[in-house]
Symmetry: C2
Subunit: 296 residues, 2 copies
């Protein structure tokens, strides 16, 4: 059986794993994202050491962005205009494939996670769905008609503009580019900025959660109106607060106001807006799926 | 050469045509949308009369919605929960195919128009793009990776939620479901509701146009963040006001605030947000393309 490497290249940490499915991982490692030089070398070394015992058929990389996904571009496989110090214009795919001499597949971290959920998780059997992560930032990926969303660049669902009533919520938003876009209003830093405390320090009955559910529901309705997904999967640190799910579902139904008369939304919303099944391993497992999909 | 029938089934009028391309139409007719019985019979009769001289290889229908596009559903090819009197739960595809005894392809009016633009218009050669019509309502369709957007139901891009500053614009919006969604704030009826006059009665320097450009730009940025289209094509009656285009482009760039560093948006936005090439024939021509795509 072919064995693949997977890399979840995150802005905070890199997760690398070797295997072919969630239940058959042969090795896994996690380390902090430091300089590109050090971090990429550590990634390569991890795979080289394993590769001496068992050859890898390919490697998949799901990376924080923005990334260049256009295979005809000279910067294909690069992290491009990121504000993360030292990482702008960093070649990722090419360095890994030259060092390991195997085919390397490349996509966004959220598309990798979406693919992982499609293969082993909450999106099994679906053709059109969204995976949204809500943590220190908000990012989204997904599939349409069984293919990952790419387009001109790649989706940046965190930056959706949503209604913001300054009378009810005077917080101006944390996004350095847009202030009160969805990420600016509803990602981790907005909790600290608005309430003076981190999300994990707030009790389940704190009003922060109703407000969070409201903004996320606004974002989800916009995704529903645009992509008409068969399901929406929510992951990331903020979504570990389980009490958010019923609140988000109710807010989405109220916002749609019976406009979309489909049973999945009207009657079975518990199965329509769901938590990730793969959890914080969605990214690295999805990267393995990415390798298999492109190489296998 | 195969000859196809195309139907743009609109809420106000039906347009039917016969041919295989914009330059080779053999017949075309337009009539008001009255009762389903009368309107569908008129459609069938038009094709039957031509069919006596030359057999049609198939017919494509692009319909106002919501419609059922799920080929496994018992209501496939129906107009479903429309508020239009008499038209809820109306079988369209089945009636036409049984009467004409040819294969019939079926999609939304906006997806048909999108397909027409992809084949003969502003989206030639593109894989991922959006077609948005702004008239008495706002509707959107498009393609992702070369396939029309469907999903759970179909997109309903007119109902996107966008920021609305009640201090600058106290108008509450015209959408019977959502009030101040994009359609509620920026479709034709909002001009009459907000300014007391129809869009076509307003001079080009009326403040209505800057406001219109602002709302449409908010909607377009949300579509860009979600789908990452290679191009956005704008059609419909409101978009016949050419002065809107430069205003919309500038608003989109300001809203994105250099977050997406892609030349298509930063440097060539004139070719990124563009008018329809097929104009008000996009729907019926797209319906012919739909027939060809499915049958041909």
């Amino acid at each position: 059986m072919a064995v693949y490497g997977g890399v979840e290249a995150g802005g905070t940490k890199f997760v690398c794993a070797i295997g072919s499915s969630p239940d058959s991982l042969k090795a896994e490692t996690t380390f902090a994202t430091t300089t590109p030089e050090e971090t990429i070398n550590r990634t390569i070394t991890f795979f080289q050491q394993h590769g001496q015992r068992e050859p890898l058929s390919g490697v998949g990389v799901g990376s924080f962005g923005p990334v260049d996904l256009n295979s005809k571009s000279p910067k294909f496989g690069y992290i491009t205009a990121t504000p993360k110090p030292g990482w702008a214009d960093t070649e990722l795919l090419g360095r890994i494939s030259r060092a390991l001499r195997v085919p390397v597949a490349f996509d966004t971290d959220v598309n990798a996670a979406a693919l992982g959920e499609a293969k082993w998780g909450a999106a099994k059997g679906l053709e059109t769905f969204v995976y949204l992560t809500v943590g220190t930032g908000i990012g989204g990926g997904g599939m349409v008609n069984g293919q990952l969303l790419h387009g001109l660049l790649h989706p940046e669902m965190g930056h959706l503009r949503v209604p913001h009533d300054f009378n009810k919520d005077p917080y101006r938003g944390a996004c350095p580019f847009h202030g009160d876009c969805l990420e600016g209003l509803a990602a981790g830093p907005a909790f600290l900025g608005r309430w003076g405390r981190h999300a994990e320090e707030l009790s389940p009955n704190h009003p922060a959660w109703q407000m969070e559910a409201h903004y996320l529901a606004l974002g989800l309705t916009n995704l529903i109106y645009t992509l008409s997904p068969q399901r929406i999967i929510l992951g990331g640190g903020v979504m570990q607060h389980d009490e958010l799910f019923p609140m988000i579902r109710q807010n989405v139904q109220e916002l749609l106001n019976k406009y979309l008369q489909v049973p999945a939304i009207v009657k079975q919303i518990d199965q329509y807006i769901v938590p990730t099944v793969l959890g914080n391993r969605a990214g690295v497992l999805g990267a393995i799926a990415l390798a298999e999909r492109v190489v296998g």
